[in-house]
C-alpha cells in the first residue's frame, strides 16, 4: 500500500492540500480495495454464469436502484455544500446542509428496505443462487456503509451545530464528508454493475 509511505504528517505545500484527516483516507482506501475485489468477483463470477446473471438481473428493481443513486448523489452534494459553507464561514449553513445530506441517506435506507422487503418476502436469500448471493452481499455490504456514513454525519452535525467547523479548521467535517463521498462513489459503480449492465 503506497499510501503508507507518506505516513505520518508530511507538510504538503498550501496549494495542494488533502481535505480531511490522513487516517480517514487510509481507511477509505482499504474499504475501496475490499469493494474493488468484491466488484471484480461479481464480474468474473458473472462471466462464468452469464445466462443466470442476465436472467435474474431482470428481477431486481432498477427504478429503486436509480432513485437511490439520485439520493446518494444529492446527499453527497449537500455535504459538499456544507464543507463549502464552512470554508466561507457561513456557520448556520453547515449543520443545515449536513442534515439534508443525512436525510438523503435516510431516504436511501427507506428505499433499500422497501427493496429488501420485496426480495426477502419472496423467500430470496443468500443461498438462492449466485446472482442473488452477490446482489444481497454487495448491496447489503454497501447498505451498512450508508448507515455508518449516516452515523458519521450525525456526529459531525452535532459538532457543526456547536460551530466547530470554520474556515480555519474544517478538519473533522472534511473527513466525514470524504467518507460519505466514498459511499456515493461505490454506489455509482455498484448500480450499473448489478442493476443494469448485461
Amino acid at each position: 500500500m503506497s499510501n503508507t509511505t507518506s505516513l505520518p504528517t508530511s507538510e504538503a505545500p498550501a496549494a495542494r492540500r488533502l481535505p480531511g484527516d490522513l487516517a480517514i483516507w487510509v481507511f477509505i482506501l482499504s474499504e475501496m480495495l475490499v469493494f474493488a475485489v468484491f466488484f471484480a468477483a461479481y464480474a468474473f463470477a458473472r462471466a462464468k454464469n452469464v445466462e443466470l446473471f442476465n436472467e435474474y438481473q431482470q428481477t431486481v428493481n432498477r427504478d429503486l436502484g436509480a432513485l437511490n443513486t439520485f439520493l446518494l448523489i444529492t446527499g453527497s452534494w449537500f455535504v459538499v455544500r456544507a464543507v463549502q459553507a464552512a470554508h466561507r464561514d457561513d456557520l448556520p449553513a453547515v449543520p443545515r446542509n449536513i442534515l439534508l445530506g443525512f436525510l438523503c441517506g435516510g431516504g436511501f435506507v427507506v428505499v433499500k428496505i422497501i427493496e429488501y422487503a420485496a426480495k426477502f418476502g419472496a423467500g430470496i436469500t443468500l443461498s438462492t443462487n449466485t446472482f442473488y448471493m452477490f446482489y444481497i452481499s454487495l448491496t447489503f455490504f454497501h447498505f451498512m456503509h450508508v448507515i455508518l456514513g449516516m452515523v458519521i454525519l450525525a456526529v459531525i452535525w452535532v459538532q457543526a451545530r456547536k460551530g466547530a467547523y470554520t474556515s480555519r479548521d474544517a478538519h473533522g467535517l472534511e473527513s466525514g464528508a470524504a467518507y460519505w463521498h466514498m459511499v456515493d462513489l461505490l454506489w455509482i459503480i455498484l448500480f450499473p454493475l448489478v442493476y443494469v449492465m448485461r
Binding site: S2, N3, S6, A12, A15, R16, R17, L18, P19, W25, L29, M32, L33, F35, A36, F39, A40, A43, F44, R46, A47, V50, N54, R62, D63, G65, A66, T69, F70, I73, T74, S76, W77, V79, V80, R81, V83, Q84, E174, A177, A178, H181, M182, D184, L185, I188, I189, F191, P192, L193, Y195, V196, M197, R198
Partner: protein, 88 residues
C-alpha cells in the same frame, strides 16, 4: 446560471443526468458490447466527478488523486475484462 460556476453544482447536475441515461439504457433493455462500454464509461465519468469535485481531490497532493483515480481505472478495467470474456 451563476450557480454553475461552482464545480460541485455542475458535477451534481452532470451526475443526475448521467444516472438518468444509465437508467434509461436499462429501461430500453440495452445489452451487449456497446451498451456495456457506454454504461462503464458513464460510471467512470461519474466516479471521476465524485473524486475530483465532491471529494475535492482535484487540488490534492498528486499521489492521492492518482490513488483514487487509479482505483477507478482498475475497477473499470477489471469489470470490462470480465464482461469482454463473457461476450466471447
Amino acid at each position: 446560471m451563476d450557480m454553475l460556476k461552482n464545480p460541485a453544482h455542475r458535477a451534481w447536475l452532470v451526475l443526475m443526468i448521467a444516472t438518468v441515461i444509465t437508467w434509461y439504457l436499462g429501461e430500453v433493455g440495452a445489452a451487449g458490447t456497446t451498451a456495456i462500454v457506454a454504461m462503464l464509461l458513464i460510471a467512470f465519468v461519474k466516479g471521476r466527478l465524485v473524486i475530483l469535485d465532491f471529494m475535492e481531490l482535484r487540488e490534492a497532493p498528486r499521489m492521492w488523486r492518482i490513488l483514487l483515480e487509479g482505483w477507478l481505472i482498475l475497477v473499470s478495467s477489471l469489470i470490462l475484462l470480465a464482461y469482454w470474456i463473457s461476450l466471447k
